[in-house]
Symmetry: C2
């Protein structure tokens, strides 16, 4: 017979796992942020073959400590400043546990009405909290939906936009279709263009204002006019609110006016920065969204305390999205769908099946309330402001401006030689230390370090300690640099 875990065993092991996670929360600060293992180490520590006989849950917990944890880069560590924060909060973790425990699958309204309706409610709540327009609401012509990632949201925006330009979904793509991004747009747009059959070569890259790194609307306008004259079909323009590289903000309103004039879909990728609009004073970030955006995506799983995966995507009109994706095989037909009175989220996403992700966002919005969410954003902003001031005051470092929201980009200054290589060495040394974890990017061809604030466990003291470590490592390295200024540029890969 199958040895299912009984409810009582679940209670017992469940408490052990809850305690394990609580211990992890308490102890993560003592672990090296970036994993120190080499390729293959974790695999080599695991058995080559699956077990023939079942075992208890204790072995999993033991191997978690022994093999898995040393192989992790700890995104919840207070010294994690890499990429963007990926907030995991208590209420989100428990909301996700409820989702796993219920084990329902919300592909159709009919397969669990509450899975769909709670989602429509929480995405409408979030639209209200962010000051997004009423037509984005699910009880209006548009609607919101939880996706796994902003990448998927971009792909879906492209598919909806293609739907509006013609019958590609039925007939397949014919002729040249073009997408518009800037040099700073997230790589998922190019990936989505590949996936959708548009092709990476038809992703038109618009230049940016060198001062702001925001897309240059005039160049966009010219490029659109030229491409249309040359017979291409422009599909979508992606404007970004908070780029991945430097949190730059595109001029959405100006871009939107151009999109409107040329009849092109405007997608706004606000993956990182969008959630900051829970603070009313930051809603200027979204200027132009209400008037011009056909679709908009932001990630509560970055800075809004909701575990990955939780991207919320809204469309101003849901018809082209569902028109691009809806297929109705017999085995999924049901009275509720036929009535037209319900939302079937399978028609809003790539996959058919879907988890009950609304529970974790619901738990977060209730636990924190609007007030707590604003407090969390403010805390990240304050830490960024403090760090920015230290950098500005330090003659050995140069701040990248404009500094935006919780991301601080800066360059250590060197006496000469291969400055980029020296900066990369500095970063690697810091990351190797285990005390903090930074990533880099390039601005105008030069390596710049990125430090993203906003982690759940990151307090002022951690930012201070990180800055001291950066300064100390820089000072230490400057002494040695003269001998090796041209070495190891291979680190910049």
């Amino acid at each position: 017979m199958s040895q299912h875990m009984t409810p009582d065993e679940f209670r017992e092991y469940g408490r052990q796992v809850v305690d394990w996670v609580a211990d992890y929360m308490e102890g993560v600060e003592k672990l090296p942020v970036r994993s120190q293992v080499a390729p293959g180490d974790v695999r080599a520590a695991l058995p080559a073959h699956p077990p023939e006989r079942g075992e208890g849950f204790g072995g999993v917990l033991a191997d978690l400590d022994r093999i898995i944890v040393p192989g992790l880069t700890h995104w919840q560590h207070p010294g994690f400043f890499a990429y963007y924060p990926s907030n995991a909060s208590g209420p989100a973790i428990l909301g996700d546990l409820l989702s796993s425990g219920l084990g329902v699958q919300g592909m159709l309204w009919a397969t669990s009405p509450a899975c769909t309706e709670l989602e429509t409610v929480v995405v409408d709540w979030l639209a209200e909290l962010l000051g997004l327009p009423d037509h984005f609401r699910t009880d209006n012509v548009g609607g919101g939906v939880i996706q796994d990632s902003a990448s998927s949201a971009s792909l879906l925006a492209i598919l909806a936009a293609l739907r509006r330009t013609g019958d590609a979904a039925e007939q397949g793509l014919t002729g040249r279709h073009t997408l518009y991004v800037s040099t700073e747009t997230h790589s998922s747009l190019a990936k989505s263009a590949r996936i959708a059959g548009i092709g990476a070569d038809n992703v038109r890259v618009v230049g940016v204002d060198p001062a702001t790194l925001g897309m240059d609307p005039e160049r966009l306008d010219r490029m659109l006019a030229e491409d249309i004259a040359a017979g291409a079909t422009p599909v979508l323009v992606c404007a970004t609110v908070g780029t991945t590289s430097t949190a730059a903000v595109d001029p959405v309103r100006a871009i939107g006016e151009i999109c409107r004039r040329h009849g092109v879909w405007l997608h706004v990728d606000a993956a990182y920065a969008g959630v900051a609009a829970v603070c009313p004073e930051l809603r200027g970030l979204n200027d132009g969204v209400a008037e011009y955006a056909d679709s908009y995506a932001t990630n509560p799983h970055k800075w809004l305390l909701t575990n990955f995966d939780c991207t919320v995507m809204w469309v101003a009109d849901r018809a082209p999205l569902t028109g691009a994706l809806a297929i109705h095989p017999e085995y999924l037909r049901n009275a509720a769908t036929s009535s037209g009175a319900v939302v079937d989220y399978r028609d809003w996403q790539v996959s058919l099946g879907r988890r009950f992700r609304a529970l974790k966002l619901w738990a977060v919005l209730r636990w924190y309330g609007a007030e707590g969410l604003r407090d969390h954003i403010h805390k990240g902003l304050e830490q960024a402001a403090r760090l920015t001031a230290w950098i500005t005051d330090d003659p050995d470092f140069e701040l990248h401006e404009p500094q935006t929201l919780g991301l601080v980009c800066f360059r250590p200054l060197w006496a000469g030689g291969d400055e980029d290589a020296a900066t990369m060495r500095l970063m690697e040394a810091l990351n190797d230390s285990g005390a903090l974890y930074l990533t880099h990017t390039r601005v105008a061809g030069r390596v710049v370090l990125r430090m993203a604030l906003g982690g759940v466990r990151t307090e002022a003291e951690h930012v201070r300690a990180a800055w001291e470590a950066i300064r100390a490592e820089h000072a230490r390295t400057v002494v040695g640099e003269t001998a090796v200024v041209t070495g190891r540029s291979d680190l910049i890969t």
Copy 2:
């Protein structure tokens, strides 16, 4: 200040949630399987606006009982026989909880090496458990990866196949590309064809053998030859092992030989049935896979005790897949990726970000062992065999043959009139009762009921009770049918 849940609060609320889930496991049997709410009921019971101030976690648990649970269709109910089972097991739930608690993001090897390496190990373990070929292994030229769903796996197979036929990812699709499915293939193939820009019109539907509902290889061969002669580029043939409608099995070997001859990618969608190959006596299901399949997908989240979402997809050669998807922006560059010594799973999927899903599959494989997994499959097969015998012996019902694995399809017989409408009314009455939940399909134009065994909590007594309920409702309905035989055909939507 932000009111984060402290580790001690997490311990306290975590126990409450674990107990809530254990209580749910114990009590789910007493709830109506299919939700009885009407469209809008759940939404109307929830506040119109998000809370301004945060609250404890108690409100979430209270509203879960009061509002959410009545709005759920209980996929883990022992009387859930609809669609296919979506097994949620204790070890999988706890594996998922660990994933949420760790909150790491495995887009790159470097962003948490163990997240990638544990995944390569467990998918290789699963390949071994299912008797899949060595070249599918991640330590070989192919490799396995966890996707959210078989839909995504199909899309990715198409993208890899397109890569092999040319430079569509760069240049965009030009010319006519065609896909090959049968009348019984899952709708996600048509959806993926729309997404990939191939177009639904270019999905070529091959007829099936009316006896087995398996794809007719000769017709496939002719269609391919004709399309090639007409200048189309055939991209991919999808063979299914266990169709969604009736669990029919396509002749993979014969199809594979034809694919090889025409140089077309063979994707095997074994979403439901593939995991049954943990039982060596069922490996005949995969005959031809080792020799011919370029990609293969099966869902541990259906019948293999691992919570949704967990589809495992393997490719015989990973180069076309990663070639279709890899993009390397500066902010994701790192020494490990550049070394070529690691797997970066972002290049194996649509999205950039990814959860640590390997933990739940690892927990399941260790808890059950190969033995426990086989026992679980055997139990579903035995229940299906018993139900099949009852149907065969009952003159009021007709079994759909061949009956395959844990799915039993059958038709109640009627004295005349609109038989399909009568069958749908019977199903709706049963589903309205709350005691069990069935779905339907059509075979050769006629409505057939589907009863899928294999639920975690479904015991012999539940199958017996369901069968008695079906018989009783049929007997009751037959009496009333003469008056209404032509009514309510709208139920077949």
